[in-house]
Amino acid sequence: MKVLVAVKRVIDYNVRVRVSEDHAGVDLAHAKMAMNPFCEIALEEAVRLKEQGIASEVVAVTIGPKAAQEQLRSAMALGADRALHLEHDEALESLHVAGLLAGVVEEEQPGLVLLGKQSIDSDNNQTAQMLAAMLGCGQATYASDIRVAGESVTVTCEIDGGLRILALQLPAVISVDLRLNEPRFARLPDIMKAKKRPIESRAAQSLGVDLAPRVRTLRVDYPAERQPGVRVDSVDELVDRLKNEAGVI
């Protein structure tokens, strides 16, 4: 079974984002970029499926500018067998990304598609569900455990009230959550080897998906700042202030 993993280049999760001077967006010019943490987890799971002899091939795909090939190199260093790049310079919406991934699925015919549940830039949490809809297949979101057996996959999903375990027919689309696994670090020799491996790159437009924007960002702002607080010296003072000043207890 082939496993397709989508990976996204995003700002590193430790970086504090800055609003651009004209408030048109955030300033990413010199920001440190990395693979979206949830995509790392999806990739790790695919590689483990291969190590267990369940997956025969792990294909990583990214959609983004030329620089996103850096994340594909990381993916190969971590164990992806092949890397596909759909080049596109402008930011895309989840609907477009799902449409492009549906095109890739058509060509590659994977048994399983793994994606992160959200990317930490747009925080959309949409692409996996949209892709599943376009493919007409089953979906599982927020996976914290994945077990493939024969023609089906059993997925434990983290939901608001606890856990839900679903069985899906393959092919299926799964979005992964933080507790699915702990991604490994790439080893230096693998990083070196990955530098020389081919990346199958082509223009995203070549897939014939309508990439016209549906949503325009009018402006971005920092949220209202909280008023600076005070230090209290004792439990007595804390309880007194909560009762008499804030009126919350």
């Binding site: 999760y13 984002v17 609003v19 955030v26 919406e93 989840s94 609907l95 799902a98 930490i120 830039d121 925080d123 949490n125 949409q126 996996a128 569900q129 949209m130 892709l131 599943a132 809809a133 376009m134 979906q139 599982a140 979101t141 927020y142 059993t154 983290e158 939901i159 608001d160 009230g161 606890g162 856990l163 839900r164 375990i165 679903l166 069985a167 899906l168 933080l178 549906r214 949503v215 325009r216 009018l218 402006r219 971005v220 702002d221 920092y222 949220p223 909280r226 607080g229 005070v230 230090r231 209290v232 010296d233 004792s234 439990v235 804390l238 309880v239 202030r241 909560l242 919350v248 207890i249």
Partner: protein, 319 residues
């Protein structure tokens, strides 16, 4: 959309065993900010009973009720197909940004070939919305050019609507069971405690607690205050508490009257889930901890010394 187009909104409500989810009244509030024509869809076993309550939410004009078991357990494939089939009648489809809404609505949007907007925190007009991005570090004001807008609403950003005389409830024929996924099991955390995302007070513990056993200290404080209990990702990852207690960018969003963070450093991802709380208290022995930057009241101290004393000195919650 031309601004003259009449707004007509369908709210996809959640219910379990006939009890509508508390967030529904807040999503209806977001719908009311769009326009007066508000209808609600309730699906699954128990939908008929839940629909009676939903019909009494102020502003609701009609409730569509589809009592069929293949919509239970947030069955995304079946529910999305049903909602997409109704979409032609509406300009806006809304659901709560819960794990259920976030699972269903993108699927609906894709079936309708439109964009979806997640975690909307403000409605500025029928096509213009505000939503947090980058873990809530910034707010984006976005305009949607699609004729149908599919939104998930962050419930804590809207005040629940009040009550009204019951609106009419209409039975809706069930769609097909797609059979694409099947429920194997559900392990729900039974709650004697207030639900985290709607609790008036939340007490959260982090890695500083050091073990699951030590969370008893947090429980004691929460008992005193009648509070819900939350946690940081580090506390959940370490296995101190279950996943449904995680507050943050990738956990639950809470905005209680009072949030008490104990042994939590205040990472940007944690802050994303709680910084809209009205009053924030931080207890941490590291005075440099970033949590103090958002705290209204900060106490630099060892939590193991402070919590027992706090339990003793807090007034007892009357329920």
């Amino acid at each position: 959309m031309s601004s003259e187009q009449t707004v007509r909104t369908l709210v996809v409500a959640e219910q379990s065993s006939g009890e509508p989810d508390a967030a529904t009244a807040r999503v209806v509030a977001a719908a009311a900010a769009l326009g007066e024509a508000i209808e609600v869809l309730v699906v699954g076993s128990g939908a008929e009973r839940a629909a009676e309550q939903v019909a009494r939410l102020a502003g609701v004009q009609r409730v569509h009720c589809c009592e069929a078991a293949h919509y239970d357990h947030a069955a995304a494939e079946n529910t999305a197909a049903l909602v997409a089939g109704m979409a032609g009648e509406y300009t806006h489809l809304l659901a709560a940004a819960s794990t259920t809404g976030r699972s269903i609505m993108p699927r609906v949007a894709a079936l309708c070939n439109v964009a979806q907007l997640s975690e909307v925190v403000a409605v500025q007009g029928p096509d213009t919305f505000v939503r947090p991005i980058y873990a809530g570090s910034v707010l984006a004001t976005v305009q949607s050019d699609d004729a149908l807008r599919v939104l998930t609403i962050r419930p804590t950003a809207f005040d629940a609507v009040g009550a009204q005389e019951a609106a009419p409830v209409a039975a809706l024929a069930a769609g097909e069971d797609t059979g694409l996924s099947r429920l194997v099991d559900e392990q729900l955390v039974s709650g004697e405690r207030p639900e985290l995302s709607s609790a008036r007070v939340v007490v959260s513990g982090g890695r500083g607690l050091g073990s699951g056993d030590n969370f008893r200290l947090i429980e004691a404080v929460a008992d005193r205050l009648g509070a819900g209990i939350g946690a940081s990702r580090a506390a959940v990852d370490a296995g101190y508490v279950p996943n449904d207690m995680q507050v943050g960018q990738t956990g639950k969003m809470v905005a209680p009257e009072l949030y008490i963070a104990v042994g939590i450093s205040g990472s940007i991802q944690h802050l994303a889930g709680m910084k809209d709380s009205r009053v924030i208290v931080a207890i941490n022995h590291d005075e440099e901890a970033p949590i103090f930057q958002v705290a209204d009241y900060g106490l630099v101290a060892d939590l193991f010394e402070i919590l027992p004393e706090l339990v003793e000195k807090l007034p007892r919650h009357e329920s």
